[in-house]
């Protein structure tokens, strides 16, 4: 039987050694009130990641620099997220623990032409969850705001185009600008092309990042310390060995950047 058949089995899996991973990241490069910033390129543990270096989409894995190292599963087993204790000081924000499924960069913010992307398809480890899509910046765009849109292939193998999303003037490196999917869509299989509606004045460097959300962890104003989340609360999402785990900072009314630190536990269960 896949998963944890009983509470006792879950407890037994949580009690095993070698199931933990520690994270401690410096501040992301940019913070904007109510926005989202990526820790992908921030220093710390795991070490800083980098821009994908490919306009064509690439499917990152646990081996991609920037991904959180976590223990491999035993043969015939799969890891799950079984506990999250995560925070960063301060208050009034949330942290997201993401599995990075697909990413690209090299898109110019100073072009209104169709910019082909193509490349790899999203791995099947994301087939169970709703996907989230972001336009991630690795260097700032120019002073003219613009709208972008991505043409993509959805969960039913249909070509779709996202509603337009706004890229603010001079949006900085590290920003993750949410890209809505077309109504009714909940997953992306692959990227096709990008188009902006105005030149920003600077090419910058941006690309699309597709993720599945494993957990949202907040910091309470009154205690300013992390709240431990258990396996049942988290839903024990599967974390296959090739998962590319990283973090994002989701701001509240303040755009002050914060570090991220915590511990994640990965109990294993039968894969099938």
């Amino acid at each position: 039987m896949a998963g944890f058949p009983t509470l006792a089995a879950l407890h037994e899996a949580l009690a095993k050694p070698g199931i933990r991973a520690l994270a401690s990241k410096g501040v992301p490069p940019t913070g904007v009130a109510f926005g989202v910033s990526s820790y992908w390129t921030a220093s710390g543990t795991p070490a800083a990641g980098a821009a994908p270096g490919s306009t064509a989409a690439v499917a990152p894995t646990r081996s991609t620099p920037g991904a959180l190292p976590f223990p491999l599963a035993s043969p015939g087993k799969v890891r799950h997220l079984g506990r999250a204790l995560f925070g960063g000081g301060g208050s009034g924000y949330t942290h997201a623990v993401f599995d990075r499924l697909l990413h690209s960069d090299g898109l110019s913010a100073n072009s209104t032409g169709v910019q082909p992307i193509g490349g790899a398809s999203a791995p099947t480890r994301g087939a169970f969850d709703a996907h989230e899509l972001y336009f991630e910046l690795y260097s700032p765009v120019g002073a003219t705001p613009f709208n972008g849109a991505l043409t993509y292939v959805n969960q039913d193998d249909q070509a779709r185009t996202t509603p337009a999303f706004a890229v603010p003037a001079s949006a900085g490196a590290g920003r993750m600008i949410h890209v809505p999917l077309a109504p009714g869509d909940w997953q992306v299989k692959s990227f096709v092309s990008h188009q902006g509606d105005a030149p920003s004045g600077l090419a910058g460097n941006g690309g699309y990042t597709l993720v599945r959300r494993l957990a949202m962890v907040g910091a309470d104003r009154s205690i300013s310390r992390p709240v431990p989340l258990d396996a049942i609360f988290l839903g024990a999402p599967k974390v296959p060995d090739d998962s590319c785990l990283f973090f994002a900072l989701e701001f509240g009314a303040s755009g002050s950047t914060l570090a991220a630190l915590g511990a994640l536990w990965f109990p294993e269960a039968d894969a099938a």
């Binding site: 944890f4 058949p5 009983t6 709703a130 949202m216 609360f233 839903g235």
Partner: protein, 269 residues
């Protein structure tokens, strides 16, 4: 027998499936109901139905929160809800079952609604609540709207009401005014007419039938609320539910709202 007779059954139903909703702050009024249906965010702006007879809503309606299809006789149950709100307030998660618009806020005569058939998950209307939603502000005169409806038990010819002047002058778009059903009525199976009264400007209103699912109370600004299975009670979410958010905040804006929810799927016991 319960779907989850013990915690072992719940653990065996894992892993859960996760989804996320985020709404930007919009203009609001302190301590009153607001709908976030037309607030920007993810999902984006909700569908505008385009008629007084309205449209039935489902998980595929534009603006509905993500919900996963089920198979094999399974049903979705809410395992946990994590919510962030950038200011003190209460967020209510609802299943938006039917909605309409095209009602004048400047008419004394009853306006025909004759709601379209409700979806099967409405269960005949028992437990549904009825509200007036402001799409475009009317004039400066306060209103006391009423609606004629059919109750699943009492039948047709029932009247839903609000207190005198419940809808203040120039109520802003997104204000959401629940009706009081007649007598001991406990639901609405259809709506026949709506009488708004004279505000001075037509504006545009609509009616909504909805089923409250859960409330998230965040009494401290910039706080996060965690609700595990013992708090959610593993409430069931119909597989075609149109998930939407209402909120009541203590300030003149709705605040940034983030809600992550985890769903387990299981066959009814």
């Amino acid at each position: 027998m319960s779907t989850f007779p013990d915690v072992n059954a719940l653990v065996a139903a894992l892993p859960a499936r996760g989804a996320y909703v985020e709404k930007d702050s919009i203009a609001s009024v302190a301590n009153v109901h607001m709908t976030l249906w037309r607030a920007p965010g993810r999902p984006g702006l909700g569908e505008k139905p385009g008629s007084a007879a309205g449209l039935a809503c489902s998980r595929l309606t534009q603006g509905a929160g993500p919900l996963f299809p089920v198979s094999g006789g399974k049903r979705n149950h809410c395992l946990s809800l994590t919510a962030f709100l950038s200011q003190p307030g209460t967020v209510q998660v609802v299943d938006r079952v039917w909605h309409s618009d095209s009602l004048s806020l400047n008419a004394n005569a009853p306006q025909a609604v004759n709601s379209v058939a409700l979806p099967a998950r409405a269960g005949g209307g028992t437990g549904l609540e009825l509200a007036l939603e402001i799409w475009t502000p009317g004039g400066v005169t306060a209103l006391s709207p009423s609606a004629s409806y059919t109750d699943p038990v009492s039948g047709a010819g029932r009247t839903a009401t609000m207190a005198a002047g419940a809808v203040p002058g120039s109520a802003i778009a997104g204000r959401f005014f629940p009706f009081t059903l007649q007598g001991t009525d406990r639901g609405v199976s259809s709506v026949q007419t709506c009488t708004t009264g004279l505000s001075g400007v037509a504006g545009e209103g609509g009616l909504v039938l909805y089923r409250p699912l859960f409330e998230l109370v965040l009494p401290s600004s910039t706080s996060t609320a965690y609700n595990g299975f013992s708090e959610t009670g593993l409430f069931e979410i119909p597989d075609d539910a149109c998930l939407a958010l209402l909120d009541l905040t203590a300030t003149a804006t709705s605040g940034k709202v983030r809600v992550e929810y985890k769903l387990v799927q299981a066959v009814p016991g």
